[in-house]
């Protein structure tokens, strides 16, 4: 890791009933964890034990969790890293609304109802010119407003990250202009542009090809000692991370979805160059206490 205090983020996957280990783990956790009060208690406990940020997919559930966290003075506010779009929610809506065109119509309605002048402006322009970037800007404005309205004095929105499905489709389909427009839009709003990916070496290669500087970007990708979700291979991911100096590099899946114990994960993470942030999902207050205490202690810079 870099020679600086790491950012330790509480992840939200358990609050959505997601486990990358097995569906059985989701059933074992029960439904309590998906209740907002219970989830916000887990986040609070994690923060009291060393976490200093919250990384979440933007949904009604996570925004409600955010609203239940305590308000803080400016310097003590939580670092917020938001992932958009919340893929499951939009796939579910597309299913219910009759595919992508149905989803687009529903979203347009919500943007109009938001009443925000800028958001509506981007949306109208997007519809009139059929320019996807304008619609994306409308969508991003809409999400930023929702997050800030929920966060108030509780946290500072550091970054909005594109969900891995969007990032990975964009790099696969060579959507260079879309990525560059997104970076500019976020920079204009003084929010760090972020990208979550499950194809880190391919991502790094594409960004270098497109001459995009990693400085000022927030990146999130899986890193763990057994190579779980590290595509195409652990070796190639470890080579690629040496190229992203200047970014906020969030390592995720450090416990390989619960397959590894936190202690096993720490040594591996410590040895990763350029990694300066970690996100871990915890499903009980006890887990939050133990995990973040351990991470804060073992990754502390003397």
């Amino acid at each position: 890791m870099n020679n600086e205090q790491p950012i330790l983020l509480v992840g939200d996957n358990p609050f959505h009933g997601i486990s990358h280990l097995s569906q059985q783990s989701v059933k074992n956790r029960g439904t309590e964890i998906t209740r907002v009060k219970h989830a916000s208690d887990i986040v609070k406990t994690s923060i009291e034990n060393g976490a200093n940020g919250f990384m979440f997919s933007v949904s009604e559930t996570t925004l409600s969790i955010l609203k239940m966290l305590p308000e803080k003075k400016q310097k003590e506010r939580l670092n917020l890293y938001a992932l958009v779009p919340y893929a499951y929610e939009y796939v579910r809506l597309a299913t219910h609304e009759g595919g992508l065109p149905g989803l687009a119509k529903r979203f347009a309605k919500e943007v109009l109802q938001s009443g925000n002048f800028k958001t509506v402006g981007f949306g109208l322009k997007g519809v009139l010119t059929s320019d996807p970037m304008d619609l994306i800007k409308a969508y991003l404005s809409y999400e930023i407003i929702r997050i800030k309205a929920s966060a108030k004095n509780r946290g500072v929105l550091r970054s909005v990250l594109l969900h891995e499905v969007i990032t990975d489709m964009a790099i696969a389909l060579n959507l260079e202009s879309l990525i560059k427009s997104y970076i500019k839009f976020m920079n204009d709003h003084e929010i760090e542009p972020g990208f979550e990916t499950r194809n880190f070496p391919y991502f790094v290669k594409k960004f270098k090809e497109w001459d995009i500087n990693f400085k000022g970007l927030v990146l999130a990708a899986p890193f763990n000692k057994i190579g779980f979700y590290m595509n195409p291979s652990k070796d190639e991911c470890e080579k690629a991370i040496t190229d992203v100096f200047g970014s906020t590099m969030i390592v995720m899946s450090i416990l390989a979805a619960g397959y590894l114990k936190p202690m096993e994960a720490v040594d591996y993470i410590r040895g990763l160059p350029n990694a300066n942030a970690i996100v871990v999902g915890v499903s009980t207050e006890q887990q939050g206490r133990e995990t973040f205490n351990l991470l804060a202690d073992k990754l502390k810079i003397a």
């Binding site: 097995s22 569906q23 059985q24 439904t31 299913t95 687009a104 996807p132 959507l175 391919y202 595509n231």
Partner: protein
């Protein structure tokens, strides 16, 4: 030396169309040259975003291009007419279609004939065969790890339409739960145990578009039970699984883990983590990359791919028999 890339097109730019178009774009020996969709909005967006890719509204325009392989990712009810049109051309392309092959066994049988006559590679996207856990289960069965098979229970659950008052209003556009969700476990069962017959007296399908249970029996007396629903609570991620009982033990397998329990009480388990689940490019699930890369390799090597149209049509046969049985009841 540079070799000519295979040219590819995707028909139907929904969720699955985008996944396959993206993966094809990352394969070194494939070039994505065209997309086809009937939605004006989607065509406009694709045209603005994708340079160097033709975006068309009509199948005939795809046929005019020199395309080596076509992915059909439209809703199931449209598969027959699209594939029929593609394979009826003098120079038919290699065709991959998302499951199921078509809406009925009779249509699927016609497509099998056309595909055979075309001499090209054809494949249906039963991607669960490419999941490391189901592959491991197949390997264990082939090794006789649980002796001769007596019975199995298969399930496919999702929450896609959980909580809706009238799910059939929207769910029917996806071809019904048996085709959309159940077809995966029917295909896996045919792959694991060979052909079987539906037992018409044991079908429970009062709401056949959304919830179905039925029993099957194979020539070798293996008895099977299927439970399929997309109205279950708690399945954000769809779950597919089988519990297989043999003379020497049991295997339980789903997308995440394979568990082997021998009659002597020994047990073993393999998570995805233990089975080398990494791929060249991960989008959606590793299985998508593996099936696409395998289809392309089959074309390049001039060999047939599995599950072929012939193999996959057996799933449509089983689904047809469940519908027939439910209707008679």
């Amino acid at each position: 030396m540079t070799t000519k890339k295979l040219t590819s097109a995707v028909i139907g730019v929904g969720k699955m169309g985008l996944v396959h178009a993206s993966i094809l774009s990352t394969l070194p020996n494939v070039e994505l040259v065209a997309l086809c969709d009937k939605s004006n909005l989607i065509r406009k967006f694709c045209s603005k975003l994708l340079s160097g890719v033709r975006v068309v509204d009509d199948l005939a325009k795809i046929s005019e291009l020199d395309i080596d392989l076509v992915f059909v990712t439209t809703p199931i009810p449209s598969h027959y007419s699209i594939i029929n049109s593609l394979l009826s051309k003098k120079e038919a392309p290699n065709v991959f279609v998302e499951k199921t092959l078509s809406s009925s066994y009779s249509d699927s049988a016609k497509l099998c004939d056309l595909a055979r006559n075309s001499g090209k590679v054809n494949m249906v996207g039963y991607m669960k065969r490419f999941a490391v856990t189901f592959k491991k289960a197949k390997e264990l069965l082939n090794q006789g790890a649980i002796g001769s098979i007596n019975s199995f229970e298969a399930h496919a659950y999702s929450s896609d339409f959980f909580g809706l008052n009238n799910p059939s209003q929207v769910s029917s556009s996806r071809g019904g739960v048996l085709s959309d969700l159940g077809s995966h476990v029917i295909d896996l069962s045919l792959w694991f145990f060979g052909d079987f017959l539906v037992q018409p007296e044991k079908i429970n399908a009062k709401d056949i578009q959304n919830n179905v249970q039925f029993n099957v029996k194979s020539d070798s007396s293996v008895e099977g039970f299927f439970d399929v629903s997309w109205c279950k609570e708690g399945y954000h991620v769809p779950e597919f699984g089988l519990l297989i009982t043999g003379s020497k033990g049991k295997i339980a397998v789903d997308d995440d883990v394979v568990k082997l329990e021998s009659a002597s009480g020994q047990s073993f388990q393999w998570y995805r983590h233990d089975l080398n689940d990494n791929v060249g490019f991960l989008l959606g699930a590793p299985e998508y990359f593996r099936e696409d890369a395998y289809f392309v390799e089959s074309i390049l090597n001039g060999v047939s791919a599995e599950p072929s149209f012939d193999t996959a049509s057996k799933v449509d046969y089983v689904i047809g028999k469940v519908f027939d049985g439910a209707e008679k009841k």
